[in-house]
């Protein structure tokens, strides 16, 4: 387990910025100066951990340490960063753009489908295309996140079966990817 290097931090922040915008600042400063939260790499996975916990974890052998804190995602072998569904609880409160899905669209989304226009209850204004969006149910439960397929203005003219947001991760993965989600 080690802190991130400069290029690693940059790639991680680029990914997070797609969803959070300037909300990353809150992630860095969270916990104040006494017990702030830090980013740590274990294997290829990146964890968002309380610093005191990260310091304690140094006493655990690298091979024996399976996980700590909240897993944000992992670095691929090509050096890109892939966000996992486990990061949802961290990025969602700071999200810039959101899409609320109606009850009839919840299940299709949780089974891995994209968000259709017919299923959208409401959406954030002025969202450009290919921007990270958080998907919520109408009672403000975080369901997952995705990437906007169209800008809000264009999406208005779309037919009801048109895709509004491409799914990236959804909480259905906790069941679907149960075997591989937490293995290194």
């Amino acid at each position: 387990m080690r802190p991130l290097t400069e290029p690693e931090t940059k790639t991680l922040f680029e990914k997070l910025a797609a969803y959070c915008g300037k909300g990353i600042q809150d992630l860095i400063t969270a916990g104040g100066t006494d017990d702030r939260h830090v980013f740590r790499v274990q294997g290829s996975r990146v964890y968002y951990v309380r610093e005191s916990l990260a310091n304690l974890a140094t006493s655990v052998k690298r091979d024996n340490l399976l996980s700590l804190g909240t897993c944000l995602g992992k670095f691929t072998k090509t050096g890109k960063f892939r966000l996992h569904i486990t990061a949802l609880s961290i990025i969602a409160p700071h999200a810039r753009y959101k899409i609320w899905v109606k009850a009839n669209g919840e299940m299709p989304f949780l089974y891995g489908g994209n968000v259709l226009k017919a299923h959208v209850g409401r959406w954030s204004e002025d969202c450009p295309e290919h921007q990270g969006v958080i998907v919520l149910s109408m009672n403000d439960t975080y369901l997952g996140f995705g990437v906007s397929a169209r800008s809000t203005a264009e999406a208005r003219k779309l037919d009801p079966t048109g895709v509004v947001a491409f799914r990236q991760a959804d909480i259905g993965e906790y069941l679907r990817e149960e075997d591989t989600l937490f293995t290194t």
């Binding site: 802190p3 400069e6 940059k10 922040f13 990353i24 860095i28 830090v38 921007q131 800008s151």
Partner: protein, 202 residues
């Protein structure tokens, strides 16, 4: 022959000199020059013979002839400015001396903030440009749509006018016979047609 023997014994080296000295003791002749130089050969010849031995450096005649010729100046490599062979070092390999090896970790909030601000600035620029482009496209589309609407409205209006005109014509035909006459005068062929229709075989 005797001279050659003495040469073998008494070499021009210091050792030979000593041995020569010993032999002179035996002979009983004591003199400085006999100890250092063998008898019967001039100094110059002796020197040349010693150099003729295998392994010894041979001097050229010219050099011997002119020993006080000024030496040629030897240039150092730096002075000559000769490009060194294989001197190109690839950019990736060249590392400044004294630099620490290994990864540079970013763990303090200040440096993380710096990276974040750089990333955010880039993203914001992208997002803004996207939004601007989308708005511009939207404006263009709106303008085109308005134009098309206006055109269709004009067409409709024209169509309605022609319709109305035709209707008026029809009405005026039925109601105003005097006018029909006028029309008949103008276009006699058209009025003759209904007359033809009235003609019946029965």
């Amino acid at each position: 022959m005797g001279s050659t023997k003495t040469m073998g014994k008494g070499k021009p080296s210091s050792k030979g000199g000593k041995s020569g000295g010993a032999s002179s003791k035996k002979g009983g002749a004591r003199s400085k020059p006999t100890g250092s130089a063998p008898e019967g050969i001039s100094k110059r010849k002796q020197k040349s013979m010693a150099l003729a031995k295998p392994g010894g450096a041979q001097k050229t005649k010219a050099n011997l002839a002119n020993p006080h010729k000024p030496k040629r100046r030897k240039y150092t490599e730096k002075e000559l400015d000769i490009p060194a062979l294989n001197s190109i070092i690839p950019a990736g390999i060249a590392k400044p001396k004294g630099q620490k090896k290994g990864k540079k970790f970013v763990d303090d909030p200040a440096s993380m903030m710096a990276i974040m601000s750089v990333v955010n600035a880039e993203k914001d620029k992208n997002v803004e440009s996207k939004i601007m482009r989308a708005r511009q496209l939207e404006e263009i589309r709106e303008a085109k749509r308005k134009e098309a609407e206006e055109r269709s409205e004009e067409k409709k209006a024209k169509f309605e006018e022609t319709k109305k005109g035709l209707k008026k014509k029809r009405k005026s035909r039925h109601s105003d016979p005097g006018r029909i006459e006028d029309v008949d005068d103008e276009v006699p062929e058209k009025t003759s047609k209904p007359k033809k229709k009235r003609v019946s075989f029965g």
